[in-house]
Each structure stands twice: as structure tokens, then as C-alpha cells.
């Protein structure tokens, strides 16, 4: 069985590990925090049951079967034998850098690295590694099992071989690789964060309530989800972090974070994961 490691057992890591396991990979799911891992097990079981409802294909997901192929761990045991590491830790260059320095020590040469990020420079991460050509950005979208494509980010040193391996990995999980270049926010975040941020400004300015803002996107623009339910799903803290990164990188006021978003995060309203954001869960 092919082996991959997933680092970081947050929202993305949990779904990604389950998806890879469903498609037959043996998965190591690593998080530095024991409590996070315990929570991850519960969330994974719950998610797998919920996804059954969303499409015919996901009807075949079985929590016991999928979770039997995943080992949950707080250390790097087994990382020397994995083909791919897909890293999903916090969108913070310092946190990610620390993880990559550790990965550089524990993984074998020849290992490929998928940086799951929506805004951090792949070129900068790659500069920390012995084989920078084997580092590629993989911006998985949420919820992972339902998305058909991955925004795949080519760093300055990313090789053709790595792109081909990434394509095979993603295709084996029924996802298409969409190639974009490494530039802050890539394509998805530069667009989506402007939408989410401006939608938050609309709520702040009492122009419309979240339900109606989202309904306009769904029913008017035929998006599957509106910007505020998307923000709740991603996590408002993550949205604020990403906006801060975009603002810092471009120094362009269009990326200034809506004060309401910051206030909600300070109040612990982080969206779906905390039970309340623009909506109650």
C-alpha cells in the first residue's frame, strides 16, 4: 500500500487524511498536540457520516474502514518511508518553517512535499529544504472530499517531475490539478478573500444580513455557497490571518481586514468549528 503523511490535524488535515485513506493510501496523520488528535478522530468519524449525505459516491464512505488505514501520531515515526508529505499546519510562515526544518531531518531524500496553503510562498518554504525541486503547493479546498480540483502552486524551483507526481497523486484521489504560479494569495485567495472581506463589510454596514448576502451569491450567481458561509467553514481566524498576509505582501489597502471580522475572532466566533460565526451551528 502506498504511504503518505499528513501533518496538522485541523479542519483540512482531518478531511485530507480521510480522503487519502478512502482512495487506498496508508496514512500517517501527525499533530504536535495530543488533544487535537483525539478531537480529530471524533471529527473525522462525524464528517465521514455527514459526507455520506452529499453525493452518491460518498455513500460508500465507511468510517471504520477509512479510519483503519490511518495512524494518528504526535511524532515523526514512519515518515522516513512515505512518498508524500502533505502539510496543513497553521497559515503562519514561522510555524510552517519550523515544521519543514523538522521534515527535512526526518524524511528520506526523494520525498515529495505538498504545502497545503492558500497564501504562503512555496518558493520560500522550498528554500528550507534539501531538495527544493520536490516542493509544490497544494491548495486543497474545503470540504476536501467534495472538491474536484486542487489549486497547485509551482514554486521557483519546483520540477516537472514533481508536477507529474503531484498530478498522479491528485488524480488517484479523483481530483484535477490546476496549475498556477507562486505569487501571494495565488488565484483562489486573492479573489475569495476580497469577496469574504467585502461581505463582512456589508454586514458591518447593515446593508444586508448574512443569509441574504449568501443567497444572492447562490441564487443570483449560482455559486454553491455564499462568501459568509464559506468564511464560517474556513474559520474566521484563518480568514483574518490570510487577509493580513495579503495586505502585508501587496501593501494594497484593498486587502485591509474588516474590523467586524477581527472583533468576531476576538470574541471567539470562529465559524463552524466554534459553533458560531456569521451563523449558529
Amino acid at each position: 500500500m502506498r504511504k503518505i503523511a499528513v501533518v496538522g490535524a485541523g479542519v483540512m488535515g482531518v478531511d485530507l487524511a480521510a480522503t487519502a485513506a478512502f482512495y487506498g493510501y496508508e496514512v500517517i496523520l501527525k499533530d504536535k498536540d495530543e488533544d487535537v488528535l483525539e478531537k480529530a478522530k471524533k471529527i473525522m468519524k462525524k464528517n465521514i457520516r455527514q459526507y455520506r449525505m452529499l453525493s452518491n459516491e460518498l455513500q460508500t464512505w465507511d468510517s471504520k474502514d477509512i479510519m483503519s488505514r490511518i495512524s494518528f501520531t504526535t511524532d515523526y515515526t514512519g515518515f522516513e518511508n512515505v512518498e508524500w508529505v502533505i502539510e496543513n499546519v497553521t497559515e503562519d510562515i514561522e510555524v510552517k518553517s519550523k515544521v519543514y526544518k523538522e521534515l527535512n531531518e526526518v524524511c528520506s531524500l526523494g520525498t515529495y512535499y505538498g504545502v497545503n496553503t492558500s497564501c504562503i510562498s512555496i518558493t520560500q518554504i522550498a528554500s528550507l529544504m534539501n531538495e527544493p525541486d520536490k516542493v509544490i503547493g497544494m491548495h486543497f479546498m474545503n470540504p476536501v472530499p467534495l472538491k474536484e480540483a486542487v489549486e497547485t502552486v509551482i514554486g521557483f524551483h519546483t520540477s516537472e517531475e514533481t508536477i507529474n507526481e503531484a498530478r498522479m497523486l491528485l488524480n488517484s484521489m479523483q481530483k484535477k490539478l490546476i496549475k498556477v504560479n507562486d505569487f501571494p494569495g495565488f488565484v483562489a485567495n486573492r479573489l475569495s478573500h476580497l469577496f469574504m472581506n467585502e461581505a463582512a463589510f456589508l454586514v458591518q454596514d447593515h446593508v444586508a444580513n448574512p443569509e441574504n448576502i449568501d443567497a444572492i451569491f447562490r441564487m443570483g450567481y449560482a455559486h454553491k455557497m455564499g462568501p459568509l458561509e464559506t468564511a464560517d467553514l474556513i474559520g474566521l481566524d484563518t480568514v483574518v490571518n490570510s487577509l493580513d498576509v495579503l495586505y502585508k505582501e501587496y501593501q494594497d489597502p484593498k486587502f485591509r481586514c474588516c474590523p467586524l471580522l477581527k472583533k468576531m475572532v476576538a470574541a471567539g466566533l470562529l465559524g463552524r468549528k466554534s459553533g458560531r460565526g456569521f451563523y449558529k451551528y
Partner: protein, 85 residues
């Protein structure tokens, strides 16, 4: 089920409270397919599962978790009855 009417009411209220409609005159019939009618999105189906399990203190069996069983008030009341055994 002892409280058929109660179950029906609480499911109805939850759906109505989360409907995506502009028109306040719209009515929800017990056999309306809430997804096909565009009252709610399929993402909302995931919240319905949580709601049903919490509200009625039941665990829906994996094989019963599908969109059809959550597609109308009627179907959900049936599902609750079945899951309560």
C-alpha cells in the same frame, strides 16, 4: 412514536428557521422536497443530521444517512421513528 406531532413541529421549525427564501409567503408542505425546491442547500443536509441526532437523542445508522431520508419533513419524521426503534 408518542410525540409524532412534536417531532414534526420541531423539524419544521428547524427547516423554516434556516430556509433560503426571500418570499415570506412561501409555505413548506410536509412532503416538499426541501432540496429540489431550493429551500435549503445540500450543505445544510449535514446540519440536519446533527440536528436530528441531538434533538431526538438518537444515532442514525450509517446506511440510513442519505439525502432521500432527509429530503422532506415527512421523510425525517419517518427516519426518527425508525431510529428510535
Amino acid at each position: 412514536m408518542e410525540n409524532y406531532e412534536q417531532a414534526r413541529e420541531s423539524i419544521r421549525n428547524f427547516i423554516i428557521g434556516n430556509m433560503d427564501v426571500f418570499d415570506e409567503d412561501i409555505t413548506l408542505a410536509d412532503d416538499d422536497n426541501i432540496f429540489e425546491k431550493g429551500f435549503v442547500t445540500s450543505i445544510f443536509a449535514m446540519r440536519l443530521l446533527d440536528f436530528i441526532e441531538d434533538e431526538f437523542k438518537i444515532e442514525v445508522a450509517d446506511e440510513d444517512i442519505n439525502l432521500v431520508n432527509f429530503s422532506s419533513v415527512q421523510q425525517m419524521v419517518k427516519l426518527v421513528e425508525k431510529s428510535e426503534g
